[in-house]
Amino acid sequence: MMQPGSLILSTMTRLLLPLQLLFSVFMLLRGHDLPGGGFIAGLVASAGFILYLFAFGVAATQALLRIDPREIAGAGLTLAVLSALPALLYGDPVFTAQWWHPSLPLIGEIKLSSPLLFDIGVYLTVIGSMLTIVISLAEAEE
């Protein structure tokens, strides 16, 4: 079994995890136009946390996450289901994509949409599911 406490691994992880998470959000948001999307971004983020798990162990990872990964998966599923509903408000069939273009001061116009919400749901579900599996396996190991 891997030994937590390897200096090189832990130092690298401290630097890499934020970058990986940032990268995963980047992949998530650009997914609609360029390669990326919720699945890929979720896998990238999970890989980051798993690296952290290898470097610091289960307890530290759980402390970092703060939330039980099963709840992350649940939140993701809920969000995905909720994203089906705005269509009903506008009288469209369920899951019809809805787009909003609010403009914010300084930033300018941004594109919000129900598919984006859905993709975030996918993202969270993938992270939650992957981490549930890996953390339970790692716990069984310890």
């Binding site: 609609h32 136009d33 890929i40 890989a47 396996l137 716990e139």
Partner: protein, 773 residues
């Protein structure tokens, strides 16, 4: 009318919330709903008596042409009044009968849901809706019989009732589908207009047999009668309501309802009157044989159901009037007698008639009520049961077929029923006081109100038969006949043959009762026949089903992953391969444009796969499986699918990590299979490879329809505002599919979590195993 049906379901849904807030007297308030419904239905009486009918319909599933239509005529109104009226009395009764029972809320939920289902059944004008309500009554009946779910006999009885009635329900569904096809409509009122066409159709006989199978199982006709007495495991209010006054009459209701469409043929008359007659006699015979008060009543209910089926079969005008009168009379006296039986059980603590005696001193009111209703059961004047029985005898004497046989059965039944009535109403209350498990005293008024009202109605309708006769009974008979009928009911029809037969039956019955002990002794000697009876057949069928299921499970679910995979693969190869060989006539795509580096990656892929199969090192196997995955990812890149490729690479990475995590859990790498087995597995794998390759080559060669990718590419930006078509497909075009997939992902995670956190079974790892690793 929709509100009338649905209100029961709504209140049932609210009961668990209301009950704790209303306290011990909740039942009284719940009884207000059925009481209100009774009043509501009663307002239809004058119009229905005048020959009017009502029909309302609501669109339900417009896409499937399903509508929720309700139809109220004499027959439906008679049933609706019985259902809601007795429902109110039973709900009131239960609040005392079940006082202090922690499961009371469950009882009210089920009884109200049942009431609503039953109302829906008798009011539906659509075959499919009727069938759904029909099955709902079976399910609520199952739950109510199994109310005392910790008792094994209650569970068995509940399952038996369910299997028999739902088994019949399946036949009924098939019958309804045939009926709908033959008659060209699923609307009852339309079908009733096309009776002649239906009866002349080639499918008439199979259709009739299927519908009768459904009706006979539900209404406990011989040979399906055995489930009804066993259903007495339910609390007594349930027996009074479901298994005497209402649900078991659903089958009879259906016969009456479909009579204008299906009745009148030789097959109908013979089947219904024979099955009905035999059931009538069997029920009466078994009633006299029993000593449990609820069993006596249950078998006499079987008798009544048989009589009603027989009358629906005979189908003359007299029989139709007798049907209405007998139905009403039976519901009144049988409901009352069951409630009296419940009171005896509740206050004296026993259900066995032989343990009771002289209770009239302790329970005078109960005794009077029992006597009145039992006189009606025995068919003695001046009670309504007498009128029903006289009409029945008159109808039987003039039956178109088998009149002498049916008359003989009816007279014998009459005699036996008189004896059974004596067993229920004379034996417990008269004679020397017996020592009962509880010191008997009069039941609380909530438990007396129901039987008192029902007994009073038996007496009132007996004295003034025109009251129900001119209106409701005539309208009911008219529903059966499909044309107006005028019934004239009277207590005194003059000295005629039915009266003479009645007198004969009563005299014989009194004689039978005076010798009850000896008669029972003689009957018990025949009990050995039960081992060859239909109930034993049911038991054998159930046991055989279990054995078959066990054997199949052992073959199909043998617990070896490899045999599941082998079965799946071979089935796929067999079915698809067979279709390809026999149906496919085109060629295969030849001259594929393959580049040099594509050959290299393909070669790498094959080499890695071969290595994974043959290596002796587990880590090596994991790594080479990884190589296979990355090689596939390379292909995705070559064919410009970056999204797929990124996903594949990430999945491969995580898979390797997961494998490494479990690697240490696994026992030493060993070879479990013989070379022969490996050869076999290799052959199976090879077959699948060949099949998939062939399929791909064909798929490339053939283009059945315009590919959808062009549409996706064209519409991606204007419709979905996205340039990445793959992502647009995932989150927009096919979002519903993706939703399903992420649910599967989460479920898989929960599965792994459960497997690791809650180990159990023979493969459970202990701490010792851990340290050994």
């Amino acid at each position: 009318m929709l509100a009338a049906v649905l209100s029961g379901f709504c209140l049932a849904a609210l009961v668990p919330w209301l009950q704790p807030r209303l306290g011990a007297r909740a039942g009284w308030l719940f009884a207000l709903l059925p009481a209100g419904l009774t009043a509501y239905f009663a307002t239809f009486l004058p119009a229905v008596a005048a020959g009017e009918t009502f029909r309302v319909s609501y669109p339900w599933v417009p896409g499937l042409d399903l509508e929720l239509a309700f139809y109220l005529d004499g027959l439906a109104l008679l049933f609706a009044l019985l259902i809601s009226g007795i429902g109110a009395l039973v709900t009131l009764y239960a609040s005392d009968y079940l006082a202090g029972d922690a499961r009371q809320p469950r009882f009210y939920v089920l009884i109200l849901a049942f009431m609503a289902s039953m109302l829906g059944l008798v009011l539906s004008d659509n075959l499919i809706a009727l069938f759904i309500f029909w099955e709902l009554t079976s399910i609520t009946s199952y739950l109510l019989i199994g109310y005392d779910h910790e008792a094994a006999f209650a569970r068995r009885a509940a399952l038996q009732g369910l299997v028999v009635t739902v088994g019949g329900g399946l036949a009924l569904l098939a019958g309804f589908l045939l009926l709908g096809t033959v008659g060209g409509s699923y609307t009852l009122t339309e079908l009733l207009q096309h009776g002649e066409a239906i009866r002349a159709h080639d499918y008439y006989l199979p259709l009739l047999l299927l519908v009768l199978a459904g009706a006979f199982t539900k209404s406990a006709q011989v040979p399906f009668h055995f489930w009804l007495p066993n259903a007495m495991a339910a609390p007594t209010p349930v027996s009074a309501y479901l298994h005497s006054a209402t649900m078991v009459k659903a089958g009879v209701y259906l016969l009456a309802r479909l009579h204008p469409a299906l009745g009148g043929t030789e097959a109908w008359i013979l089947l219904c009157s024979l099955f009905g007659g035999v059931t009538m006699l069997t029920g009466a015979y078994l009633a006299v044989r029993s000593t449990g008060i609820k069993w006596v009543l249950a078998y006499s209910t079987v008798m009544a159901l048989g009589t009603l089926t027989m009358l629906a079969g005979i189908g003359t005008e007299k029989a139709m009037i007798a049907f209405g009168a007998f139905l009403l009379g039976h519901s009144l006296y049988k409901g009352a007698l069951f409630l009296v039986a419940g009171a005896l059980d509740h206050e004296a603590g026993t259900k066995d008639i032989l343990e009771m005696g002289g209770l009239r001193r302790a329970m005078p009111i109960t005794a009077v009520l029992a006597a009145v209703s039992a006189l009606s059961l025995a068919g003695l004047p001046p009670l309504f049961g007498f009128i029903g029985k006289e009409l029945m005898l008159g109808a039987v004497l003039n039956a178109p077929f088998l009149a002498p046989l049916l008359t003989a059965m009816a007279v014998a039944t009459g005699a036996l029923v008189v004896a059974a009535a004596g067993a229920v109403a004379v034996r417990p209350f008269f004679g020397p006081p017996a020592r009962t498990p509880k010191t008997p005293h009069e039941a609380p008024w909530g438990m007396l109100a129901g039987p008192a009202l029902l007994s009073a109605l038996s007496l009132l309708f007996g004295l003034a038969p025109g009251l129900p006769g001119e209106g409701l009974i005539s309208a009911t008979a008219a529903s059966l006949a499909g044309e107006p009928v005028h019934a004239h009911l009277a207590l005194w029809h003059g000295l005629n043959l039915p009266l003479a037969l009645s007198a004969l039956a009563v005299a014989a019955g009194v004689l039978l009762y005076s010798q009850w002990g000896r008669v029972r002794g003689a009957m018990n000697r025949l009990e050995a026949l039960d081992a060859r009876g239909p109930e034993a057949g049911y038991e054998r069928l159930m046991a055989a089903t279990t054995r078959l299921a066990e054997r199949l499970t052992r073959i199909l679910q043998n617990g070896y992953l490899r045999s599941y995979i082998t079965t799946t693969v071979l089935t796929l190869v067999g079915l698809v391969g067979y279709t390809l060989l026999t149906r496919y006539e085109g060629g295969f795509a030849g001259g594929l444009d393959v580049r040099f580096y594509e050959w290299v990656i393909a070669g790498l892929l094959v080499a890695a796969a071969l290595f994974a199969c043959s290596t002796r090192s587990r880590l090596g196997a994991v790594a080479s499986v990884g190589v296979v995955g990355f090689a596939v990812a390379l292909f995705f890149i070559l064919f410009s699918a970056p999204d797929l490729s990124i996903t594949q690479i990430l999945v491969e990475t995580l898979t390797v990590i997961l494998l490494v995590l479990v690697l240490f859990k696994l026992p030493d790498f060993m070879s479990f299979s013989t070379p022969r087995q490996r050869l076999r597995d290799g052959a199976v794998a090879g077959l699948l490879g060949v099949l998939v390759t062939a399929l791909l080559l064909i798929a490339v060669h053939y283009q059945f329809a315009e590919p959808i990718s062009a549409y996706h590419l064209a519409k991606s930006v204007p419709l979905a505002h996205g340039h990445n078509v793959v992502n647009v497909i995932i989150v927009d075009y096919r979002a519903l599919d993706t939703l399903g997939e992420i649910f599967v992902v989460a479920l898989a995670a929960i599965g792994v979590y459960a497997m690791i956190k809650y180990p159990g079974g023979p493969g459970h790892r202990t701490d010792e195993d851990e340290s050994a690793v």
